[in-house]
Symmetry: D2
Subunit: 410 residues, 4 copies
């Protein structure tokens, strides 16, 4: 990447204090034109204030992009990922990871539309998000410049940031004067919290950290049952009512959040080499995973399922590390999608005080054969004597090994 | 295996009606001497009645083997498996699978000690257990004969079995007259239930199926916190009190069971090619898995962890399919064990109404570096500018791909 | 499978003595109608004699199917497999394995067309081919019966076979009176030889075993150069001349055979649990593999390539074991095919006395960037300082590990 | 790593012009004390001149380390790697990659012994070797500084380098005045050549590039047979004569080189993200790989072998990328080594004009059972009827899939 200054930059802009400072810093540091891009990914914040803030900071109306990406986010990113039952390091549903490629995609597209030569983001130099933003951007436009102010500037303390804001007439909300006790990222899939009060992994996360789920102790005393229907691996209806992808996830978030489901206290390995501790709340995603596994249990062949399971950790790692737009992620997606043709049917979940369990599943595509498995007379569906031969041939190499061991000892 | 009749058989004998019928059938069908082997694997049944029953059926005292294998079971089978965080098909903790190799091992050893040329088990020809018993037996003694009466005899209905029992003066408990509404297997790790009333995977399992855990709705209204300590990947203490492996698992079962934790309603793929539905209760194992993951989060390197994760499905499949005593399981165990050297420390779990969550973890072996991860000034521990180069080189191939795509289009 | 007798059987019929005996045995044993299917897969034998022989044995003309499947074989089976660079156990190009699914596919289709309820093959009960034939057949028609006479009849010696042939007026070629010194399978991809004189893996295979390749010592004293062109992973031209798939493989066989290339003396693990020794000759396939690897070297991204490499052994094992028509093979194929979009270009091979080496490759789709790799001035294409950051972050976890080791020691 | 200047540096010193310039540059740039380390890894150069050159450049005798590491190199690095049959990207025997960790290990140890706070190497910022050197160093001493002058200095052209050399009285051999037509690395395992005349992957490598092998055309007209014996996976004897590891590899290099074996023209993916083209000569290693595979064919169980095959690409990638001293490489090594317990026996190779083939193998540890595999009467070792059950149960899920497909269509 040529190192000279950008002329026009598309900034991923939330309207908050930090990205407002970045906006101003880009203008002053590089003297470049700034285009702001604010996306609704379901983070639960109004977008209008971002427009007003951008205007206040001198951005021309045609340079302010505000978009509702919730359906695209769920349809083209979240759902394909859930087809894989993806979990990073066994537990994390990748809520932050999966949102970054979409933001980068729009940044690069808006750069093309507005003639910008650079994009900028507000991620720090210690985390995974910088990697995810930038790998995605470069994969989509090899000549784009990426500006990561947190790696460049000298605003290395809260005090300096506030001084910069004041010096440049950036309004500072009262509650931003002091430091937040932790840092938050949110979208339709999850809320993540990390840093500061959460930095000691031995200490319980304080209650006030949780924002999207009630405490299990405060959840209803009565279980609730929900039915989720799937077509070709994607959720399409709740309790029989067909809904769009983002509507489904929104509804599942409500259900899960109400029952205190989807909390995760987690220490993970960042791609940049350090461990960090995060608190994740993924209420709808947790229901979705349980449901998807449930429908796969009866519709997916064991050969297909075991193959999927075996590549899942790698798939999850790719997404976590920011390689969504890579050939290998796309190859794995082709493999996964090829398995989902018959993953259609309905699952019943039981939600209760922090946990969700699949308690029933049915499908026209079911491979479950009561005729075969029954303890009762199976009318010849299965010949138990076949098992003797099956075992003998599976045992043959083990017998040869045992015979060798005996021979060499004897 | 030569097909002629066995002369002396060691039978895996529970003392129940089915294995008593097998005992008698072996005597009458083959005219062979029978040695009974009854093991306490923590199934929660008295062993004395098995001795009396065996004596009643004419087994000589020196041919009655009754053993408490609980410590060996947990130390040499359960714990090594938990080092891998093994889950079959994403959810099943392998409670039945892991017990079979130990039983076979003792059957083969007792055969050697008593001069028996065969072993026998009570598993049917439709399930996985026959495979697990027999592969283990053949791997330990290539010349052993294995008798699986359910695959051989013509006692193919409940009525015929009871007739046989009556004809041979086998006592029949009153509650065994009718058919059990489902079939149960239990040991210190879990209770599994399957068959009959459970055969429709669309229908909720009835409450009376659950035997080892209270319903989450009936669990205490107050959460309970438990601390589990690990050394080199194995649990060694609960709430600071050192305990033997079997004692730990017993204690964890009590804790988990009391809080309704570890229930699983599951449709799985059997090795013999059909799907089956099981209800599993693994209270202690569920706590142990969560705790082991928690301690690994701070003590295991990411390279080691991701490698473990990637081979776990294969490891779990091997155990499920009965290949515990195979070179490849042993190779994978060597890999797993090599990762556990520093998996030592303590984890705090929160137990509440059906779910368990790790909420704290600490260790002298921790790799978590607050100095690196902190949002505060890190005193030079980490240079954020390094991230720029890291990203550039990770992006290089993606840029070259994007440049090709553009070149071929242009 | 219902065990009662078949009414009409489609037999994979070569026209040779063994399958002629099977034909007659089916008629006499089951009193069933027989349909013969003889395919040209490039085994290098005339098909006309098979027709005459079938007629002689009483098969009605409409029940004699003779087909040239060479193009389908190479296009739909061999080429897809070579996209994966598939090698079983590191060395075997799967020449026999890949032909079986196609034969089964046609057997099942002809059964449907002729109203037959069964198919039959001439593979023995010890080998892999029975598995491949039967798994393919069942995957395509779950109700088909498969007859494997070698597992059923009592013609267990050469003498008995010949007696049966004589008793049923089956003509016996003079050279079939004695036993062949080894057994052969051939198709357009390879010739395999095994058994009898080859059964001691310590002994060199005698020269007369090799049928499709000259001895390297007898190959031309001058190297020959060949250029193979690829489009999307498949060979499309030799020395600039476009050819059909089967024509290309035929031509490559000539070239490889002339230079003594593609011989393999191999001890492999059969799916049925035993080791066997085979001599394989795959002249064209060996050139094709080397060429495909060569073109991938410049057109395939490393992420894509390493992923392909990592799943290749599993893919090869599936084909070897007979699971061509399985969901997991198809999923892997989807992954592999997704990688081949840009695997287009040309490779130059050097053929000489038993070996082949890729010595040049070029493509419009090349990802090789002389601008980046050059030892000369790269005009800013690559900033060597990026490597420092790249290394630092890759090293971070290793440093943390080393620091722990030091801390715990100190 | 603190960025301030090193006080004492251990330099990987070959005695050649480039590392002599580095030596002087370290002295002048940092004013630091320099310790030279020159290792004999079998590169085929005298070490005495390196000592004289170092003395000439003002290095104190106690700061000159010259060591013969050939035995350690082969025993602790090459042999463990060959137990895995490691090939990077299907073809490359990792000759350069495997030498770097050992050099770094000694650099770090000498730093500890001499009180040096830094190590330095002569690898450029574009290649893999910088990564390998540095990851190894950091893994062994988290506080060590690593100096990579090629990433730091401004001697960016041949002219500037020579000017620097002249300005500092560094002797310049006549043949070093002009630029070498390509760059070479050599050790006991291989010679690699890359750069300049080799940079166009479409062009054949010129003959003069090859240094360790004769052209196949110039190799003897008569094949030569060699027998290699193994114990637990490592070569221990040639033609029955026991030899040390380095002696064996030296002898195999002679044999392979004489017959023109082990040449590879290769385009590979560097860890730093670009493709590069190399010419590798690995004569002895090529024999060793073929032989090791040959002995594994009869002594390794299929389960063990297939598992090894499946993880090999990852193992090779780790070594290529410089992660020899990482937990995951050590875990994989534990897995691999656990498989080699019975990999003992002897293999016969045929060497002829550029190629090597295993043509015989035998062992007391053989699992090959002629009794089972024979086409002749096997005296009951194997019951062909077992195959029917084996196939039926392997087919069951495929039948259920086919039945579903039919049901949904019908």
């Amino acid at each position: 990447m040529p190192s000279h200054a950008p002329k026009k930059v598309v900034l991923a802009y939330s309207g908050g204090l930090d990205t407002s400072i970045i906006l101003k810093w880009l203008q002053t540091e590089y003297g470049c034109e700034v285009v702001t891009f604010t996306a609704d990914l379901g983070q639960g914040e109004e977008l209008d204030p971002a427009r007003k803030k951008a205007e206040l900071l001198g951005i021309a109306p045609e340079n302010i992009y505000i978009e509702d990406l919730r359906e695209e986010f769920v349809r083209d990113f979240v759902f394909p990922m859930f087809r894989a039952n993806a979990l990073y390091e066994g537990l994390y549903l990748l809520g932050t990871s999966i949102a970054r490629p979409l933001i980068s995609k729009r940044l690069v597209e808006i750069a093309a539309a507005t003639g910008a030569d650079a994009v900028a983001h507000g991620a720090t130099g210690k985390g995974n998000d910088q990697v995810r933003f930038e790998l995605s951007a470069y994969a989509l436009n090899p000549d784009i410049k990426v500006i990561a102010p947190w790696r460049e500037w000298d605003l290395t303390s809260r005090t300096k940031l506030l001084e910069f804001a004041e010096a440049h007439q950036i309004p500072i909300a009262k509650d931003k004067r002091g430091e937040a006790p932790f840092s938050v990222d949110a979208n339709l899939l999850h809320t993540s919290s990390e840093g500061k009060v959460l930095e000691d992994p031995a200490e319980d996360a304080p209650d006030y950290v949780y924002q999207r789920t009630v405490a299990p102790e405060d959840a209803p005393d009565t279980p609730e049952y929900v039915e989720i229907s799937f077509e070709r691996g994607d959720a399409t209806a709740i309790n029989g009512e067909a809904m769009s992808p983002a509507t489904i996830l929104t509804k599942l978030n409500e259900l899960g959040g109400k029952h205190g489901i989807g909390r995760l206290d987690f220490v993970e390995n960042r791609f940049v080499g350090m461990k960090s501790r995060g608190i994740y709340e993924t209420p709808g995603g947790t229901l979705l995973l349980e449901a998807h596994r449930g429908i796969e249990q009866i519709t997916l062949d064991s050969g297909a399922g075991h193959l999927k399971d075996s590549i899942m950790p790698r798939y999850a790692e790719l997404i976590y590390n920011g390689f969504w737009f890579s050939p290998e992620r796309e190859m794995l997606q082709a493999l996964i999608d090829a398995s989902q043709k018959h993953v259609s049917g309905t699952v019943r979940l039981k939600l209760y005080k922090g946990s969700v369990r699949c308690v029933g599943r049915w499908s026209d595509h079911s491979l479950y054969s009561e005729a075969h498995v029954t303890f009762e007379d199976d009318a010849g569906a299965y010949d138990q004597k076949d098992a003797a031969g099956f075992i003998q041939l599976n045992a043959l190499r083990l017998k040869l090994l045992a015979a060798r061991a005996r021979r060499l000892k004897g």
